[in-house]
């Protein structure tokens, strides 16, 4: 397998996952805002922070109105992580690696891309937004499903799976990071307590984790429970620990590389050993920073080992 193709497949996994996650994120935020009391201004800005695009956003928009943020996150081609951009990049990649991926996947992705490109304007009306986002999510799941049911589990597939899981781990930690700091402080006001909890529920919902959380945790939704579930659970596919485990499961099929193994073990140990109960707000933020750095090192290790091959 060409190094460039391995690199492309890895990024294909990431972009597809990114488009889906962004759609979920917007959907849930919209629902959350409907539940919040009047005068509470959580707004749309945190979403821009979650995807890490504050700077790009400020370059092009003056204020964080709903319409602006939504356009930026969904359709703006100047935002490299918008749904449209992610799909476009996934599609460009698929064109370059068409020979390694079943043709049906291309057809499904093409459909989805044309849908977002052609129908994106309708998201500006609230009533149709949910339907639109749901189709994006369904479309991404369909692409991924078509891929997993039709593609040989060859080495290329492993790179794709690594990309998908690195992206998910990254997105889960981002959501936790931004949500845990921008959440309302309900300690002083009894009347805000119910809203405190619905925000943690929304964190779960943006990762489609609510139902699974209830089954696993069997307790009311609270901060510690949610953090532990999304960071350390080994069975829920969007938890950081699960994603790292999935990356680990790919390694035996790739050429052996000590540095890749080392960086993976390091970040796994970090997540696994974190004592969630004792994390104060600040400690959480630091932990998440460390995990993010660990994920970055892991990405760099993969790139170094497989994507850039120097002449012998």
């Amino acid at each position: 397998m060409l190094s460039r193709v391995a690199d492309d497949l890895y990024w294909f996994g990431r972009y597809l996952q990114r488009a889906e996650n962004t759609a979920r994120l917007i959907n849930v935020n919209a629902n959350l805002l409907l539940d919040l009391p009047k005068g509470m201004t959580m707004g749309w800005e945190p979403l821009v922070q979650i995807v890490g695009a504050d700077q790009a956003y400020r370059e092009h928009y003056e204020d964080s109105t709903e319409a602006n943020v939504l356009r930026f996150l969904m359709l703006d081609e100047r935002n490299g992580s918008s749904i449209l951009s992610s799909l476009q990049q996934a599609r460009e990649i698929l064109r370059t690696v068409r020979d390694s991926i079943p043709r049906e996947v291309w057809e499904k992705l093409n459909d989805l891309h044309y849908f977002v490109q052609g129908r994106g304007e309708m998201v500006m009306s609230r009533t149709r937004r949910q339907e639109f986002l749901q189709r994006v999510i369904d479309g991404a799941v369909l692409v991924y499903g078509t891929l997993t049911t039709n593609m040989s589990r060859d080495v290329g597939f492993q790179f794709l799976k690594v990309g998908t899981n690195v992206e998910q781990a990254d997105m889960t930690t981002r959501i936790l990071d931004v949500r845990s700091t921008s959440l309302i402080d309900a300690s002083g006001r009894q009347d805000l307590a119910p809203f405190y909890n619905i925000q943690w529920m929304s964190v779960l919902r943006s990762l489609t984790a609510y139902q699974m959380y209830r089954r696993h945790v069997r307790a009311r939704v609270n901060r510690t429970g949610v953090l532990r579930f999304l960071l350390q659970n080994r069975e829920f596919p969007r938890s950081v620990m699960f994603c790292l485990g999935a990356v680990g499961a790919c390694l035996p099929q790739l050429p052996q590389n000590r540095n890749v193994e080392r960086t993976l073990w390091r970040v796994r140990a970090l997540v696994q050993d974190a004592n969630i109960d004792r994390l104060v707000e600040r400690g959480l933020s630091e932990l998440i920073d460390e995990i993010q750095i660990g994920l970055g090192e892991m990405h760099a290790a993969f790139a170094q080992a497989f994507f850039r091959v120097e002449p012998a």
């Binding site: 397998m1 060409l2 190094s3 460039r4 193709v5 391995a6 460009e92 064109r95 370059t96 068409r98 020979d99 291309w106 057809e107 093409n110 459909d111 044309y114 080495v155 790739l254 050429p255 497989f306 091959v309 002449p311 012998a312």
Partner: protein, 500 residues
């Protein structure tokens, strides 16, 4: 009944499908009857189904416009162009003859230059050729083949004569669309394939692969063959990816390759470097190797030419093959066929005047308003003068260009390109001009010609420009076996009137 063939006005040109209003040629008869039976609504449905299939299958090409690369869906007309097998067999023989002579010519030009010494081909033409590569002098590629893949453009004039308009020996494109057009037609008109014997076209990738294998410098069962593309911004990128996929070979970019000290070429893989035996390159000579050609090229790979010259690498087409892909050299092809093969050309050239020749040039300059003037080395229909359609300013501009550099120009009469019925958006049919690009693969021991080829259509009324970069579209091309389908009711004589 939707299409009224009595209303189809095709008298002013040679029409590929109709001898006159309501009179289909024998090979097209079943098709015309079938279309006749479809209602307007059914026709519209099929037309939209084809558009959708093209979108869903992702058949596209890239156009550079307004500073952006735009990916356009392939413009396609659902009414196929039909050619009788008997006529096609003759065309095929003519193409094989032509490419054989071209390969002998290129080998001769880079070695003994006998054709120049024998004064059949003028030495000054060679000296001024921009596609002559001095680096290739003395080279004899494996099996003596230089132009492994050739795409020749054929056009038919008013009287029905089929001419060769040009031979593309550098990186001809379009073959993927030929195969995909057929897939679209099978999706949209499956029943047509039941009652007509249409010869298949999907053999091409397998033939191409076998030919590339035959070029390998190492006797291996499975040589490592790759397709070298300039990348996704190239207008033919779709085709590059398609071909690689169909042949099951790696699609590589220049940065994926390197030439090591042993003069062998390698590609970078996740397992480390892997030796490459044959490259089907879709990059122009000048960008191929910054070590010898353009230093600023980021598309190619340093050392490729060295690797090839040392016999450690097969390159298709060979660097320098473009010396015969020149609209002025073109005019000498019938003489080459006579010189190398001792035969008369089966397929005629379009009559051409070379501006380097005093007598010819005077004729051209006196008749600029009637002729088509072409520069020697442009492709895609750029840089041309179409006399009858040009204003006085443009004609004067070309007069200046020709006088400044006569070697670079040749002129031909304005042909009345043949037409074929094309479906409009309101489900009526109108004649549109077209050409045909078959592809010829040369292995050295055998030659393969595609069945038919890519039919390109000028989608705008009256237009003669068929290039997809300038608003052209395509049709599926059927070579049909009328004998196998039983005798048609009408006499066969009229359809053959135009064939040579």
């Amino acid at each position: 009944m939707a299409i009224d063939w009595q209303q189809y006005r095709c008298e002013n040109f040679y029409d590929e499908l109709f001898g006159g209003p309501g009179r289909p040629r024998p090979a097209a008869r079943r098709l015309a009857e079938y279309l006749d039976d479809l209602s307007n609504a059914e026709l519209a449905e099929r037309r939209l189904a084809a558009e959708l299939a093209i979108k869903v299958m992702g058949i596209s090409f890239t156009v550079y416009s307004e500073g952006k690369n735009v990916d356009r869906a392939w413009p396609f007309d659902v009414i196929p162009r039909v050619i009788a097998r008997s006529e096609w067999e003759k065309t095929e023989a003519g193409l094989k003859q032509r490419v054989a002579a071209l390969n002998l010519f290129i080998q001769d030009i880079y070695n003994h230059q006998k054709i120049v010494k024998d004064k059949v081909f003028p030495a000054e033409l060679l000296r001024e050729s921009v596609n002559f590569r001095t680096q290739c002098v003395g080279m004899k590629p494996k099996n003596d083949v230089w132009a492994h893949i050739c795409g020749s453009d054929l056009v038919r004039d008013r009287d029905g004569t089929l001419y060769v308009l040009e031979d593309n020996l550098r990186v001809p494109s379009g073959v993927s669309y030929m195969v995909e057009n057929r897939l679209v037609m099978k999706r949209v008109f499956p029943e047509l394939f039941d009652n007509t014997t249409i010869l298949p076209v999907d053999d091409y990738p397998a033939q191409l692969y076998d030919m590339l294998v035959a070029m390998s410098p190492r006797p291996l069962d499975q040589p490592n063959i790759v397709l070298l593309t300039p990348g996704i911004y190239n207008s033919a990128y779709f085709e590059h990816a398609w071909l690689a996929q169909q042949m099951g070979i790696e699609l590589v970019e220049g940065s994926d390759l390197f030439v090591a000290d042993d003069d062998c070429t390698y590609m970078r893989t996740i397992y480390g470097p892997k030796r490459v035996d044959v490259i089907y390159r879709r990059i122009d000579d000048l960008f191929l190797d910054p070590e010898v050609f353009r230093e600023d090229s980021v598309l190619g790979c340093k050392g490729l030419l060295r690797s090839w010259l040392k016999g450690r690498l097969g390159l298709a087409n060979a660097p320098g093959a473009g010396v015969a892909d020149d609209k002025v050299v073109y005019a000498f092809v019938p003489k080459m066929i006579k010189y190398y093969l001792g035969e008369d050309a089966i397929l005629p050239n379009v009559p051409s005047w070379l501006c380097m020749d005093d007598k010819d040039r005077n004729h051209v300059l006196a008749n600029l308003d009637k002729l088509v003037v072409k520069p020697a080395n442009e492709s895609g229909g750029y840089g041309m003068l179409i006399g009858p359609r040009a204003g006085p300013d443009e004609i004067e501009r070309f007069r200046g260009l020709i006088q400044a550099n006569p070697r670079n120009y040749m002129a031909q009469p304005t042909l009345s390109l043949s037409t074929a019925p094309t479906l409009m958006n309101d489900e009526t049919v109108e004649p549109r001009h077209l050409d045909l690009r078959p592809f010829i693969l040369s292995r050295g021991d055998s030659t393969y010609v595609t069945t038919g080829g890519l039919t390109r259509v000028a989608m705008t009324r009256g237009s003669l420009v068929v290039n997809s970069s300038q608003g052209g579209g395509a049709k599926d091309t059927w070579v049909v076996d009328i004998e196998a389908d039983g005798p048609p009711a009408q006499s066969q004589s009229q359809s053959m009137a135009g064939a040579r």
